[in-house]
Symmetry: C2
Subunit: 197 residues, 2 copies
Amino acid sequence: MAERARRGRPGHDQASVLRVAIELFNKQGYDATSVGDLARELGLTKSAIYHHVPSKEHLLERALDEALGELSSALDAVRAEASYSPDERLREAVRSSVVVLAQHLPAVTLLLRVRGNTPTEQDALARRRDIDQRLAEMVQEAAGAGAIRDDIDPHLISRLIFGMVNSLTEWLRDEGDADVLADAVTTLAFDGLSRHR
Amino acid sequence: MAERARRGRPGHDQASVLRVAIELFNKQGYDATSVGDLARELGLTKSAIYHHVPSKEHLLERALDEALGELSSALDAVRAEASYSPDERLREAVRSSVVVLAQHLPAVTLLLRVRGNTPTEQDALARRRDIDQRLAEMVQEAAGAGAIRDDIDPHLISRLIFGMVNSLTEWLRDEGDADVLADAVTTLAFDGLSRHR
């Protein structure tokens, strides 16, 4: 897409403009990125950009909504599976968080860098806190059911495990094999480094 | 210190200017912070700041050097302990990374946000890669000795475990009880969430 854009060929739509915008926001920061920068990157004029999208903030909103919507749907799906025990539910929550992160890497990376400078960002932070709260509840339910260790505060466990998941955005460069990665993270989270007999 | 500074009282030295500078860099970003901002925060004139420090970049250099120096010394100390087995060495490396992070939280937070925009930042990134490499070697030695699991790539293990450690900067607000925190992280990293008999 970036290649095609630089050659100035036609064929952009809102979705492709969004992809390139997210890339730029992640590379140089949302605040430091202008619609002019985006136009240059796409080989379009500013007015052509405004033909596709109403504003830079709209692109941020769409990007954050992608990440939050996917993470939230994944938790809904895990929660809806009535046959799961509390620790299976937590395991699936960890696993599907990794899969969403890998499959929507640019949008999730952008989400995790949001600091709340605008109403759009504050809204995203509120939705992110809601997701964190749901994850913490799953940890608490599993601990309460005696299914996972109870010698570490469940809130701390939640922060550490999903801190590990989120740290993937620091180095992951493409989706790769999201399932293999999700297996590794889930195994490490539940079984740790030590060899257990 | 910030209180004293706002009242414009004397008593600043290079160390106290550095503390306030690191706070500001973390709050509003290094690039977005001017020496004028720093002067305002300290209740000093810009020329008074330049009496204490030669430049903004010098403050960044000092801050990154604090974080990198402490992390590196901690690994030197772990490596120097000849009685450690490979898995004890790794365990102590995890533990002491958490302690350094908690005790030097502002400087380590700043280090983890560096993206390599200036020679100072690039130098810090190179030193950080060197530390990451030493940590990865410790994981590899422990895996090679059969002391930890070998069904996950040691490089991935290193990234995940120290990703979990580094994620503390996302929410930790003060040093708190660094040892208790270090225990929790080390236990989770080695033993995982599951109850093991």
